[in-house]
């Protein structure tokens, strides 16, 4: 019997599990949440100077293999992320595991025919029509989740009852897992959105506002950025973040042209992965009177490294402070906290003037 598993990223394992468990009639194994053990395992078997998402995903793969999985899913593209799958498959097979790795994106494109073929190998009863229907629901679920997240992000720092947002979000995700049709999902979403808006917040008009930009995996997986958003929320800061799965899947290809037009003064071409998006976002954040910008990436993320001098230049022109973080497997948490505190204090002082 085949058992399927997938790497983790933020809360997106919930829609992933929803889709896979409805489409394939095989066991779906949710890997254990990312911990220090995961990253240790990943680092041990990874090449020397690969970017950190490789280590995280390899670590989760190894952990889910320990739990009994023998089929794995990997996806990604834009930079070298698209090439992870093949190298990881080779590393796993060198370690002596007999696993099939399904790469959803190869050579920069998604070949649906090939994916269907691969899924049919695992589950002969795989039905395309059913897959189409559940993919639709899943994509909607991702959209709703991202929408709710955006509301939470701008308000969580100001909640009166501590933990109210988090517990409600937990409930919502649990309910989302159980939906059976699109209508049910839609109804649940509106119900919870109302609930979220009913949570009492004390939000002053002149609160500090910080925009977070950067590399996509590090930004979306809270463990890999050492729970940066939580840390900021504790300091009563409104957070704006652009990257989410819905953006990557649907909005990116439309928006990139607009972004390039906006930042004509600085860049002429697309720079690979999210680099040019982040440059345009920097400009947006500066123009919309945000107090500060935090740029996060995993170490050795090539596209972001290319974008950093330009981000710096734009921020300098507008006089907005930027904090650059580069996370690796053994970054110390205390160091990050100290830098964040100093940054936060500086923003407060700037406000005082």
């Amino acid at each position: 019997m085949n058992k399927l598993s997938y790497p983790l990223m933020g809360d997106y394992h919930i829609p992933a599990k929803f889709l896979l468990s409805h489409v394939l009639k095989i066991d779906i194994i949710t890997p254990p949440p990312i911990s220090n053990k995961t990253i240790e395992l990943g680092t041990k078997y990874s090449p020397e100077f690969v970017c950190t998402p490789f280590k995280y995903t390899l670590g989760t793969m190894l952990e889910s293999i320990e739990k009994g999985a023998n089929c794995l899913v990997q996806m990604g593209g834009g930079c070298r992320y698209g090439y992870y799958g093949e190298v990881q498959a080779q590393i796993l097979s060198d370690l002596g595991y007999n696993v099939t790795l399904i790469n959803l994106v190869t050579k920069g494109k998604t070949d649906i025919k090939r994916i269907v073929k691969e899924f049919k190998k695992i589950d002969p009863k795989f039905s395309r029509l059913k897959a189409l229907y559940y993919t639709f629901i899943t994509l909607k679920m991702v959209k709703y989740m991202d929408h709710v997240d955006e509301y939470i992000r701008s308000n969580i720092g100001f909640e009166i009852e501590k933990g109210a947002f988090e517990s409600l979000k937990f409930k919502m995700l649990r309910d989302f897992q159980k939906v059976k049709s699109y209508r049910e999902l839609h109804r649940k979403y509106h119900f919870y959105l109302k609930e979220f808006k009913n949570i009492k917040v004390h939000k002053p008009d002149d609160c500090l506002k910080i925009g977070i930009i950067g590399e996509l995996y590090t930004i979306m997986e809270p463990f890999s950025n050492y729970f940066l958003e939580k840390e900021l929320a504790q300091n009563h800061i409104e957070i704006k973040r652009f990257t989410n799965v819905h953006y990557l899947l649907f909005e990116k290809s439309f928006k990139i042209r607009k972004y390039l037009k906006d930042t004509k003064k600085y860049i002429k071409y697309k720079m690979g992965a999210d680099a040019s998006d982040n440059i345009a976002r920097t400009k947006y954040l500066c123009e919309h009177k945000y107090d500060g910008i935090i740029h996060i990436k995993s170490s050795f993320c090539t596209p972001e490294i290319g974008a950093m001098p330009i981000i710096n230049k734009i921020a300098n022109n507008y006089g907005v402070p930027v904090l650059f973080f580069s996370f690796d497997a053994n970054t110390s948490e205390t160091g990050i906290k100290t830098r964040l505190e100093a940054f936060y204090d500086m923003l407060e002082m700037r406000r005082g003037k």
Binding site: G85, K107, I267, Y269
Partner: protein, 300 residues
Amino acid sequence: MDKVGIPRGIFYYYYGDIWKSFFDYLKIPYIISPSTNKEIMLLGTKYSNDEMCLALKTYLGHVSYLEDKCDYILVPRIDNFGLDNQTCTNFLSAYDIVQNTFNIKTLNYNIDLEKHETLKRGLIKIGKILNKKHSELVKAYKYAMKKYKEKRESEIMLNFNKLNSSKVKILLISHPYNTYDDLIGKDIIKYLEKNDVEIIFSDKLDENLTNKLSERISKDLYFKYSKDNIGALELTKGKINGVIFLSAFPCGPDSLVNELAMRKINLPYINLVLDDNSSFTGTETRLESFVDMLKGDIHE
């Protein structure tokens, strides 16, 4: 007349010969920055971000060296040669980084075969900025390509014939901008030649062959220059004694591609990763033992 500056970095090692004969034919004066030295390296580290790869750092050094010595600096951008022949993201962003770091006029063209932007169109575009006629430019392009092809073919022949030599043969897998750079690869090549080793360069093989052959090692690979490198392993299969993987720290594509290749080949190999602080003495010791091991193998 406007003088064009050509930085002796990344793109120069792919297109340098074409540019030179193109400008020669048009009688446009140009200046090429000297081979990388300590001074240029220092300039590079000054203007670059600490996590940039060594090749990009030296490139920025070369650009900075040329900054006040010419009117235009030639900085192309190479996006892709089709969807499954893309390039490293540094090739995509080099132009914008230069434009934002330095206050200079640049000549720029883009190679993006997905959008039908070819080398010919690019060169004609920059020729027009320098006030040349279209017909003249087409002729210059043809002349440059003809000269380039002749030189390239003879280089490939020379390199390929080395495979028949009776010496110890080592395949050097590396990007040309690392291999022929004075601070990165030159010492290694010198050392190997001194020790009576035949070096086969992975970049001086027919790329039409190597590109296709790379599929035998890696199916999903979509980096053009890595594909050419890895394909060399298949092309020279059974004819070489050892492999040297040379890359600059922290090269994005190489970190994954070389890892995969090392896991798949059944040959002795050594993996050299160089950065701006590495000394040649350390590398020399490693090379020495590697060459000794290979030579010992033959005598047995």
